[in-house]
């Protein structure tokens, strides 16, 4: 889903931060903040081999759009780009990229953090962690 100031994508392909950067770059803005979530090998004492992301695509897009619209109005952001992976994601690969541009840096930091915080609360995307000795859906364990 791409319009002039908002670029939201769920993708089965490797994410590249330059795409988000190029989308939000604008001569009206002096500050860009980007958050990149990558797959780390250790979660507490468990060794991870890879992740698998599943999503409810139309609702995920619609929830992301709601979050972005709140971020535009609360922080005065200029452009927002959110790309999230689906499927198999290996160690050090990118799970999510959020880039935002704003006139000034404080709004960029706050808006970017707001988007990733809200994404983790409400967007219907599920992460299965594959460990050396088993697998589980994150946040589902009793």
């Amino acid at each position: 889903m791409v319009d002039k100031n908002l670029d939201i994508q769920l993708s089965a392909e490797t994410l590249e931060i330059s795409k988000n950067y190029n989308f939000v770059l604008d001569e009206k803005c002096g500050g860009i903040d980007m958050f990149v979530g990558t797959v780390r090998r250790w979660n507490k004492d468990e060794e991870i081999t890879h992740l698998d992301f599943e999503c409810y695509e139309p609702m995920a897009l619609s929830e992301l759009k709601k979050i972005a619209n709140r971020a535009f109005s609360q922080f005065g952001l200029h452009k927002i780009s959110v790309h999230h992976r689906t499927g198999h994601v290996g160690l050090k690969d990118i799970a999510v990229v959020i880039a935002v541009s704003a006139k000034h840096r404080k709004a960029a930091f706050e808006g970017c953090e707001f988007i990733i915080d809200e994404l983790k609360k409400t967007v219907p995307i599920w992460k299965k962690e594959f460990l050396i000795d088993g697998s589980h859906w994150v946040n589902s364990r009793p």
Binding site: G37, F53, E54, C55, Y56, P58, M59, A60, S62, H84, A95, V96, I116, L119, K120, K121, T122, V123, P124, I125, W126, K127, K128, W137, V138, N139, S140, R141, P142
Partner: protein, 85 residues
């Protein structure tokens, strides 16, 4: 008054898909008319749902409260605790 119940289709994701064994569940001819009656049905038919953390229900791609009325024409989905990012 006679009511005709149609099969209700429920989309299943993540742990819910694995518990149900399919990405879609068809619920035949059962009187489910609210989110809470759907939740009760699922927990009774698939007791594993009581073991895992609470799921939510989305109706037409929006999170829905327990008293939200539903019918077979709605797009209904089980939303386990999300874990994107």
């Amino acid at each position: 008054m006679i009511q005709i119940y149609q099969d209700m289709k429920v989309l299943c994701f993540g742990i819910a898909r694995e518990i149900i064994g399919n990405s879609e569940l068809l619920i035949p001819n059962v009187e489910i008319d609210t989110v809470s009656s759907l939740k009760a049905y699922l927990k009774s038919e698939y007791p594993e749902f009581n073991v895992y953390k609470q799921f939510q229900i989305a109706v037409n791609q929006e999170f829905a409260d327990d008293d939200r009325p539903i019918c077979s024409r709605d797009e209904i989905a089980i939303i386990p605790p999300v874990s994107g990012g």
